[in-house]
Amino acid sequence: MIRKKIITSSFFLCMFAATSFAQETDSLLNKAKDKVKEKLQVSGTMGVTYEGYGLTRNPSGWTGYQPRRPWNQVRFNFTPTFKFGKNFSLPFNFNFAAIPTNFAGPYAGIKKPSFGQFITNPMNSFGINPKYKWAELQLGTQYLKYSDLSTGDIGVFGYGVDLRPNIFRFKFFTGISQQGINYVVGPPTVTGAFKRKNWMAQIGVEKEDSYLFAFNVAKGKDLPNSALPAPLTVKPQEGVVLSLVSDLYLEKGFYFKAEGAQSTFTKDVITPLSPVLKSLKPFIEAHTSTITDYAAQAAVGKKGKKLDLGVMVKYLGAGFQTIGYPFLQSDRLDYTLNTRINAWKNKMNIVASIGQRVNNVNNTALKAKQFIGNLNWFTQFSDKFSLNVSYNNFGFQTASGFNPYGIKNVSNDLGINPTFTFTGKKIIHLISMSYNYSKYDERDVITGLTTSNNTHTALLTYVPTYLEKEIAPDFSILYFYNDVPGAKITLATLSAALSMPAVKKKMRLRGQLQYTLGKLNSFSNSNNLIASCNIDFKLTKKLTWATFLTTNYFKYGNEILPNGANYTETSCRTGFQYRFDTKKQK
């Protein structure tokens, strides 16, 4: 009996001990898991999107309207950031598409890229940036902006570091911004490009929101034999930019920013080496097509709650050219005065800028001056009434070579936009009116006569907001009239949209219908009908399914041949996005 009791007691004791042990183990495991969870945080998204496009033109064989999207496209994105503890993070930035659609730049026209071309195509990014404390390793595709005059617009596939111990800054990156692409006569024509290697480095000191002082070097070099046949119109180039940049932020919102840069650029590395021109060794050796010029910019001002005021001056010498900003237009001196004023208890907001741009600073072209002025003045007079007035001016004037009269183009735009709001018990009515007058004067360089191009736009929008319902409609009517000697264009648009939740607020629907009646001179009317809808469906807390569908029907008047020509465009975009978020899971 006693033995039985002992056994029973021992059994329960063991069970209790085992249970306690198991519970303890579970609790320990959970704690460990929590700790791991605490230590490992994942944020960001990943997803896949399909885009489809269709175009039907009538009568068949008519090609007066060209497709403007790829027939099919699939885009992938994988951009999670893994955070291990406080000090280590591992962000991924993978964004890529299945079908190349390049129309401008080095990859224009490419259809069947090699693996290297696919990786370095600007439409694809494959970047990983592991970071431990102040040390960041940069791998894969990186769009790095060192400064406004050195490098910033170009993606480079390669490797580098960004080290920020204390106030010190050291950055270095090298890689390939474009692969060699052979010229193809076509059709379709492939312009072709030379393989371009890039190097960039920055060394300096920085304290966030206080100061920055850094020296930048950015270099790019094309390999002349990397494309066979070589491009017809593009030359292999080489360029290096040295720049000094400094930012200073003082108390009470005062700031001062400045950068000075020198570029040495060879426009065609096949041209012979020049004993006459200065080289910038070890970075670059001068050819006959090598030029060396300078650029500088400075901004000074004050930022405050009620007032921002700043002056900016930018000079780009005629020969200043950098591989990091391939579309930079040089040979200019810009100066602008910018201001923002918040007044009347923040009910009045004025944003204005005035400035001038002078081209041909080095007298290599005909002098051109442009006056630029913008004003946007918003006032909330009461809860029921607000008014926005905007004015933009752009004037361009220059001599015109052999022609008797100089070029003079002046664009003026004035906009007035009053908005009325009426609040009822169940509904808020918003009525917004807008009128814009746009005048564009252009002088003929032969006769000296100025032609005026006048545009009037009037818009009325009504937005009712239901306080007890989930639907959100809006309606608008627009009238557009453009008058230029020889052509008068009239457009009238009716548009209605509706937005509402569905499926227990898991789905958000938005649809829009738009009809435009157009008329050119005395030709018959053109007709345009567009229907579109957005469906955002939250499948789970982290998974969403977004779909966009649109169809566009356009029928010309008899201004073009064949009469009755029309087309129907359809496009569809649907994709899943998964959001990583371990924080919320906790």
């Binding site: 129309f103 030359k235 426009k267 012979p272 006959t288 097509s289 005629a318 290599t364 070579g401 070029i407």
Partner: protein
């Protein structure tokens, strides 16, 4: 034997002295301002060399660039320039690289500075003079031929409207967007074609990346005019419910000459494309905009 040798030398000296090299210089009256571009385009400068009784006789080309008042601003360093021999057919055709080899051209003063900094001479009228000279003592072997030309660098259009980072109201933009730009300067003798391109910037892209990657939503060629009214036929809804960024677009003008080639091929990006700018479409102007990309 001595007599024969003397006779041969005498005949050679006589032939050389009497040899006449005739130049016919053809130059474009408004050549590219970038001097290195002259060698890329054969039509810019052609020198036709005719040798009269001077077959096998060598010569050099004495090239001088002058302002209209006759001041020499640049000349070929004859010690370094190439020696030419007329072809056996009697006519030799030379191009810019032969006549004005930039690596051996010596410019002076502000012209040298301008050339070093920009690759161009200051905008002005100039004269180019060429003369055949003997390779040994640079003595003349023919007449000096001069031709005038005018240099002014091509200035690509500057985009005016929509201005950079302008936020357009979607209700207006869905009906029409007006694009304006300045003309190419100097005004060309033949009408230029302006290729207007508008690209959508996807939420994962930077503006220039979108320009270099995407198919343009608008790709329109406009002859001579500097304004275009675009009926986008698009509903400018946000990309999706998650994206808070405003629909963003980047636009540019590509300037093409009569042969459909970019008007500048060695300046800037080489594609004749103006510096692109971006604009935003605000689908709901009553909501606060977030235009940062």
């Amino acid at each position: 034997m001595k007599k024969i040798l003397s006779s041969i030398i005498a005949v050679f000296i006589f032939t050389t002295a009497m040899a006449q090299i005739k130049f016919n210089l053809i130059i474009n009256s408004q050549p590219p301002a970038q001097l290195t571009e002259w060698s890329n385009r054969r039509e810019v400068l052609t020198l036709i060399v005719t040798a009269q009784g001077a077959l096998g006789v060598q010569f050099k080309i004495k090239t001088e660039i002058k302002t209209l008042d006759g001041t020499v601003i640049g000349s070929a360093d004859l010690a370094k320039t190439s020696v030419f021999t007329p072809s056996s057919t009697g006519t030799t055709i030379l191009v810019a690289n032969d006549v004005m080899p930039l690596e051996f051209m010596v410019f002076t003063g502000k012209y040298k500075t301008s050339l070093e900094r920009t690759g161009k001479l200051p905008a002005d009228n100039y004269t180019i003079c060429v003369q055949p000279v003997r390779p040994t003592d640079y003595g003349p072997m023919g007449e000096v031929i001069c031709k005038n030309f005018y240099l002014a660098s091509t200035q690509l259009p500057i985009l005016m409207k929509p201005y950079n980072e302008e936020i357009l109201d979607a209700k207006k933009a869905q009906t029409a967007i007006i694009f304006r730009w300045t003309p190419v300067v100097p005004k060309a003798t033949t009408p230029l074609t302006y290729r207007l391109q508008v690209f959508e910037v996807l939420p994962t892209q930077g503006p220039v990346q979108a320009l270099r990657s995407n198919q343009p939503l608008l790709d329109k060629e406009i002859v001579a005019a500097t304004q275009y009214i675009w009926q986008p036929q698009l509903t400018f809804m946000p990309y999706d419910g998650e994206t808070k960024k405003l629909p963003t677009f980047i636009w540019t003008i590509q300037s093409l000459d009569a042969n459909h080639n970019p008007v500048t091929q060695t300046d800037g990006n080489g594609e004749g494309r103006s510096e692109p700018i971006i604009f935003f479409i605000n689908p709901d102007k009553n909501k606060k905009s977030q235009k940062d990309n």
